[in-house]
Symmetry: C3
Subunit: 166 residues, 3 copies
């Protein structure tokens, strides 16, 4: 049984692996699947149909939209925000583009991941980065808009082209 | 009657239109007026005396200070923050400058709106933008500090002058 | 007795001075010491063993990691985030580097303080700033990464060198 603290809203359809913890004031939506040894901090929101891999740690205040895919051993820092709506307008239909976060990724505090972005295996997103494009394996991005500071040359060039954050 | 989920703190003086929803862990202050078909996400804080127009959607983790004016069909993305105190210092008096957010505005995830800013009708604030000046009708701003990427030329020039975020 | 609102999680070991207030949906950890006249907003997380000085105001949605040191008359704006783990990786040991925030500091909304940073007496951190280095007494920093806009010349030069946010 997961260790679910008081004042949490965990849908009855959520499936947990072993040794999970959910801290206070956290909301986990419909049909979310959570692996083993996952730690979910306080004030977190996890949207419907999301997947969270084994040993992942989601810190206080994180927002994950519906259908988020989060791999194993991922760290998501406090108040980081993922998004799925590229052009939000009230009353208009939209095609959700939830984030794909692969294994061993680390996301710094307060980072913002734009819709449709894939964070590839082992990459690092600096605190406060606003990530507008996919991030390559094992590379590191920082800034608003985010740019690569460690990684492969070719990809770096692509990143260094002028980018808009929307 | 609004659909108010458990674990919410909605002051008894709040007035709702029809078909409103308030999600968990949200706090709505004194004398707030809320229109029809408004959806307020979880972990939201809405300060006293605020107005929220019809069909507006306020996502998870948004902070709105006292006396915020929010129009109709406004989208405020997750973890966006509005402010009203230009030079916060403990123990010093201050003149609150709450935000004015006109109809059909969209604010991206994690954006920060500095005190006294007006977001004019239909404008778009990109995710993670730090908005230090008014944003013109139907224009789009991104970055920290925010600058205009789509909009009228004259205004763009004004924006492109060096800006400080404080 | 502190004024602790409903739906809060305050560890029984927390010590309060006189005239404190804790708003809804806030979590305060083990052995935290809080001075007199402290106001802690809603949706706040204060980690274990932290110290909060007299008359400090912590706004909605703030995250403070374990062992945070916060002085007197400090203002921490809504959704500001402090951190203590320079290179977060799941399963790897880390040496926590909690923030040191001296007296009379003001931190703007949504600012992010990187691990090990000291905010010296009376300094100001602009809204949305991502602070990667110590901030000198009475100076002001803004931007991502943060740079100094008011302060002593020598320090300013040091700040203006290219900085990475990680």
């Amino acid at each position: 049984m997961p260790n679910i603290q008081p004042y949490t809203v965990v849908d009855s359809t959520v499936r947990f692996g072993v040794y999970c913890v959910v801290w206070h004031f956290t909301s986990i939506g419909f049909a979310v699947e959570i692996g083993d040894n996952v730690c979910i901090g306080s004030h977190v929101y996890i949207g419907n149909f999301s997947n969270i891999g084994d040993e992942t740690r989601i810190q206080t205040g994180v927002f994950l939209p519906n259908h988020s895919k989060v791999g194993q051993r991922v760290f998501i820092g406090p108040n980081a925000t993922c998004t799925d709506d590229k052009h939000p307008r009230v009353g208009q239909p939209y095609e959700p583009q939830p984030p794909i976060i692969e294994d061993d990724v680390s996301i710094g505090a307060g980072a913002i991941i734009l819709p449709g972005v894939t964070l590839h295996k082992g990459c690092v997103v600096g605190a406060g980065a606003v990530v507008t494009h996919d991030v390559w394996e094992n590379s590191t991005v920082v800034g608003n808009p985010a740019y690569e500071i460690h990684g492969e040359r070719e990809y770096k060039n692509k990143w260094n082209r002028k980018q808009n954050t929307i």
